[in-house]
């Protein structure tokens, strides 16, 4: 038998690569098609938002938070204003809280649609699921545009409430969406849930064990797919989430399929929350009395919400000036990437892409 001289190949996947969802880079060592080592490289989209925030007033930081997780930017607004409200001791009018919940859940649906769509795209389904999901997402973006005038960077929430009340056309359109959406989710299930190729590609691949998930501070669908029932909407209810009935879908295996499944189920429950929130929406003001130049008392506050990607936390330190002394962002996907190496080692190139897609990162949030 002739001895073949072989050596592992190092491939830089990214920063320009179709499936890195932005400018992420994986330095991967391959033995044939099998991954033997992987090192994530961050920072290609680092804009120093935490530093920028230190020289802007509390209100001026809100547009910056839009640029974090640009697929679900309204949740970033929410987490940030929640932290500042906690710091300054501001109570938000009830109508504003309801509208925040409505926006958050719409955001969750639109973000999960994109996450699942791109996951399928990464696995080679030639754009079809993505296109079907974009159809629903566009409808949601229309509604966001109606409320705040933008489709992607909303800058809608304000410290103490919201910048605008919803226009009268909003609720009928949202109602229609809520009625239609379950049907479309069923269609996605029909297209994908039992597809043998999808099952073969995702079941048992990239398994994140329950223990490791908790130990590595994973959050959001990644954590719940591993079988941990931890949703901040339930565990530490913010806004008015304690008034709604909904379930937190839990996976069992912690593989790619469960992450996909959890996201699809979460959309169903988000629709349910939307239904209840529309029904219970009170009338009244949407903005509390807040001075235009807010000077919160000296101190610090940490507020976290369940963003579509996991626990999004803002840690704000105030020194009683008009700008935050320090703003730290606990970005869910950044921390979810901790275990990326463990998930892909030993799998094939194609699996690495799928695992990466199932974590559903947004580079704006990872690199800040």
């Amino acid at each position: 038998m002739m001895e073949l001289k072989t050596e592992p190949v190092v491939i830089n996947m990214g920063p320009q690569h179709p499936s890195t969802h932005g400018v992420f880079r994986m330095r991967v060592t391959f033995d044939g098609e099998v991954i033997v080592d992987m090192e994530p490289v961050f920072g290609y989209l680092h804009r120093g938002i935490e530093k920028l925030a230190e020289e802007r007033t509390y209100t001026q930081v809100i547009p910056l938070t839009d640029r974090l997780d640009y697929v679900a930017s309204m949740t970033n607004n929410h987490a940030y204003v929640l932290a500042v409200e906690r710091l300054a001791g501001i109570t938000v009018p009830e109508r504003a809280e309801y509208l925040r919940v409505i926006m958050d859940e719409m955001m969750r649906i639109s973000s999960h649609l994109l996450a699942v769509g791109f996951l399928l795209n990464d696995m080679g389904a030639f754009f079809t699921p993505l296109m079907y999901m974009f159809r629903e997402r566009e409808k949601l973006l229309d509604l966001f545009e109606m409320v705040c005038g933008q489709r992607l960077t909303y800058n809608y929430m304000r410290i103490g409430g919201l910048s605008h009340d919803i226009p009268p056309e909003f609720l009928p359109a949202l109602n229609r969406f809520v009625q239609e959406m379950p049907h479309f989710i069923d269609e996605y299930d029909q297209l994908l849930a039992e597809n043998e190729i999808l099952l073969a590609r995702t079941k048992g691949v990239g398994v994140l064990s329950r223990e490791l998930a908790i130990n590595a501070s994973a959050s959001g669908p990644v954590l719940r797919a591993s079988g941990v029932s931890w949703d901040i909407r339930k565990a530490d209810p913010y806004s008015v989430y304690d008034r709604f009935k909904f379930q937190v879908p839990i996976g069992t295996a912690g593989d790619i399929y469960d992450r996909y499944w959890v996201r699809i189920q979460e959309m169903r429950h988000s629709v349910r929350i939307l239904e209840q929130a529309i029904k219970g929406l009170p009338s009244g003001e949407v903005m509390a009395k807040v001075p235009p130049l807010l000077r919160p008392p000296q101190g610090e506050a940490y507020a976290h919400i369940e963003s579509p990607r996991g626990e999004l936390g803002f840690y704000v330190v105030s020194d009683n000036s008009i700008a935050p002394y320090r703003l730290h962002i606990r970005a869910p996907t950044f921390i979810n990437l901790t275990t990326l190496r463990d998930l892909v080692i030993g799998w094939k190139l194609a699996d690495a892409v799928a695992v990466f897609g199932s974590i559903d990162i947004v580079l704006g949030e990872v690199d800040r």
Partner: protein, 359 residues
């Protein structure tokens, strides 16, 4: 060899070239349009009515691009690869009958020729992958080589069923023998041949060599300008050739009522291509080990079963053929049932690919 032969060949070379190139353009347009409609889009509609001239616009764009050869590429291999990949697809069409008698060369081993030439394109792809001096394209080249070699086996075995029934290797005779399309008499053979060909011409869900989300563009990642266009055309030329071969073998070629034979042929080719598009727009891609597993563990055993069963059937019906009007009608239903039963049965034993590798 007389003068008429030369004229015949000259005409048919021109006809085949024209047919192939025009079909490629039609296919490019159809693919974009049909997949667009599958995805609730409109597809190209800017250049010409309904975007029919889109392919020409792309062609002009590609022609005016800079021709790049990577600094450390194997220059000659890099340059020759697109031609080597493109030409075999045209060669295959030489033995495909467009209608009775319309054929460049009615080889008596026509189907063997198709099998032999059809697999040559992979050499071009491998040359491209190797010569580009790019890691992605190298991975792609290795994948293709493995894929085509593996899928060639079940594909050839599934043809054997057809050959057993017709008793001839000539494409024209095969069409003549099809009183009903062989897709009905050989459902399993058709399925294996269709899936195997999909893999051989590298279309989704077996398009591992291009796998945009994994290895970016695979073997043609370093190609630009006319060389890229040749690959692009070559991909569609292979699709045209594969559709034509499937039409001839399993869909009774030019045969059909009312309409002229050439039109029937084109309709059937278009339908087969539409099947490719339907699969492409629905299915995710297989992983490389699952792809190999599918060929060796699923298609190959079924193809062997198919050869065995068809052989037995041919022996059985040999004497009674005359009383059935020269066609084994009862076996239509038997084969359909057998195919379903075999697929279900074999699915029970079949495992797709390996899992994690300890490193």
């Amino acid at each position: 060899m007389n003068g008429w032969d030369w004229i015949h060949w000259l005409i048919f070379v021109v006809v085949i070239l024209g047919f192939a190139l025009s079909m490629i353009i039609v296919f490019i347009w159809t693919e974009r349009k049909v997949i667009g409609r599958f995805q609730l889009r409109r597809g190209p509609n800017r250049v010409g009515p309904m975007g029919v001239l889109q392919a020409f616009a792309d062609f002009i764009k590609v022609l005016t691009k800079e021709d790049i050869v990577p600094a450390k590429a194997d220059r000659w291999v890099h340059l020759l690869a697109p031609i080597v990949a493109f030409v075999p697809a045209l060669l295959v069409l030489a033995v495909v009958p467009f209608r009775d008698g319309s054929i460049l060369a009615d080889l008596n081993i026509g189907i063997l020729y198709v099998v032999a030439i059809g697999a040559l394109g992979v050499v071009g792809i491998f040359m491209a992958g190797w010569g580009s001096n790019n890691k992605y394209s190298l991975i792609s080249a290795m994948r293709t080589a493995a894929q085509v070699v593996s899928y060639e086996v079940p594909v050839v075995l599934s043809i054997v069923g057809v050959i057993l029934i017709t008793g001839s290797l000539s494409m024209v005779t095969i069409v003549h023998e099809q009183q009903v399309p062989f897709i009905l008499l050989q459902p399993l053979g058709f399925l294996i041949f269709f899936l195997g060909t999909t893999a051989e011409i590298n279309r989704s869900p077996f398009d591992l060599l291009e796998a945009e989300s994994e290895i970016v563009a695979g073997f043609h990642i370093e190609y630009s300008g006319m060389k890229f266009a040749l690959f692009y055309l070559g991909e569609y030329a292979h699709a045209v050739a594969a559709s034509a071969v499937i039409t001839t073998l399993f869909l009774s070629g030019w045969k059909g009522p009312v309409l002229p034979p050439v039109l029937w042929f084109l309709i059937k080719v278009g339908f087969v291509f539409w099947l490719f598009l339907w699969m492409r727009s629905t299915l995710p891609r297989l992983r490389v080990d699952q792809l190999m597993g599918f060929a060796w563990k699923f298609l190959l055993p079924l193809a062997l079963f198919n050869v065995f069963l068809t052989g037995a059937e041919v022996l059985l019906w040999e004497e009674k053929m005359a009383s059935w009007g020269n066609f084994p009608w009862p076996f239509l239903f038997l084969n359909l049932a057998l195919a379903g039963g075999l697929i279900v049965l074999w699915s029970k034993f079949f495992r797709l690919g390996g899992g994690r590798v300890e490193v």
